[in-house]
């Protein structure tokens, strides 16, 4: 029986090597305007990972 199942997630430590290109949407430009959420955004260039 499987007691631990790990979801397919991006390793944040790996993103440190190639991230920060800044082409993603500015978070408050979407449907926010009164809070700060960044985790719900997509990377604009996942192919670069």
């Amino acid at each position: 029986m499987r007691r631990i199942i790990s979801l397919n997630t991006l390793d944040l430590r790996e993103t440190a090597k190639h991230g920060g290109h800044g082409e993603c949407q500015t978070s408050c430009q979407s449907a926010c305007k009164t809070s700060c959420g960044v985790a719900n955004q997509d990377c604009a260039a996942p192919a670069e990972r």
Partner: protein, 464 residues
Amino acid sequence: MIHQYKLNGYNIVIDTYSGAVHVVDDLAYDMIALFEEKSEAQIHAAMAEQHPEISEADIQETYNAIRKLKEDKQLFTEDSFKDLSFNLKKRKTYLKALCLNVAHTCNLTCDYCFASQGKYHGERALMSEEVGKRAIDFLIENSGFHRNLDVDFFGGEPLMNWKVVKKIVAYARGKEAASKKNFRFTLTTNGLLLNDEVIDFLNKEMHNVVLSLDGRKEVHDRLRKTINGKGSYDYIVPKFQKFVQKRGDKEYYIRGTYTHNNVDFTNDIFHMADLGFDRLSMEPVITDPKEPYALTNEDLPEIYHQYEILAKEMLRRNAEGNGFIFYHYMLNLSEGPCIQKRISGCGSGTEYLAVTPTGELFPCHQFVGDASSSLGNVWDGLKNTELQEQFKESNCYSKPECQDCWAKLYCSGGCPANSYHVTGSINGNYPFSCDVFRKRIECAMMIKVAESMHELEKSDQVVQ
């Protein structure tokens, strides 16, 4: 750092610094809770007592699996981002987004408006074509390596300055090829002035459109009134439905605000969905605690309950094929934002600025009208570099209250404007907002877990 919680029948463990997410059974859940505190022998003894039905071999196997996850840096991962956080503070930043407040006036008089019915505590004003064009040039000139530039038409009600919106868009489009920039426009509207011409233009030019609706008619009309004091629901809902029908696959959000008057806000979200809208957002009101509609700490248990109702109902509707998107439950676990984005946050004051009708620059739309937060103007550029440095240096590593928070890499330390308005400092802490945010992430993650488990059951492939 980890966060573990139980929701909707799932035991979920989030590893803060790797971003890993694990779904575990009760044995593993209890073992993980003790793993960093107790010795191996103590954990074995405790598990044997708590789970007498489980064999010693199974307990050992589970212990080994947890230890392997830790060795692989998928559990109890150490924070390796402090240096990166320091470097981000020192980096050269370039502008990538402007919020153009094209109309400091509004045709609604919403009680809770943070912009003081569009006036931002000042005089009514419309942005001229000249200021708008200069703002576009200012953005291009200061955008450095950024190729994608975001421009948001905001207010007040931006459609009250419709002709200028169109001219600014045309001007920016005309600059794209020569400057090698790509403009992504967004417009936020209360919908009163939507007509066929506006709808067609928005659907052609706007990357995203945000339509303000608070939900049920009685909830919406209570606070979102016309200047004659009448509710606006009946005017705008048919317009929004027409807009969305013609929108196709392009991005839009029906965005509402919930208050102390409708803590049962999921009924408003479900109402939006039942009207045929499938991209929804609903945010807690940000206002003076003295206002009768201000949310209170006493509302929190019900707010938590509502977010759980929402998550479970979304799963149910998705399974039935009539699901909808909720903005704050969107999580892209496999192709989401990089750690640099997660630390540096919304970019207010550095990558993102607001422009008033007269061309004055502020760190974001929520600072407009606060004279001490003025950064300069679109002609002379950024003059208040001391204030800009404060924004540049503010992130989840600069806020003491964030240090022990498992969710800090999901919110980047929260909204600087909310912190400023509640505590007087952009590095302050707004506990109510943090509590709501953490609950939303818990629910959003539960949905991702449920979807993943469903996929797993379908494929019958288990990956550890």
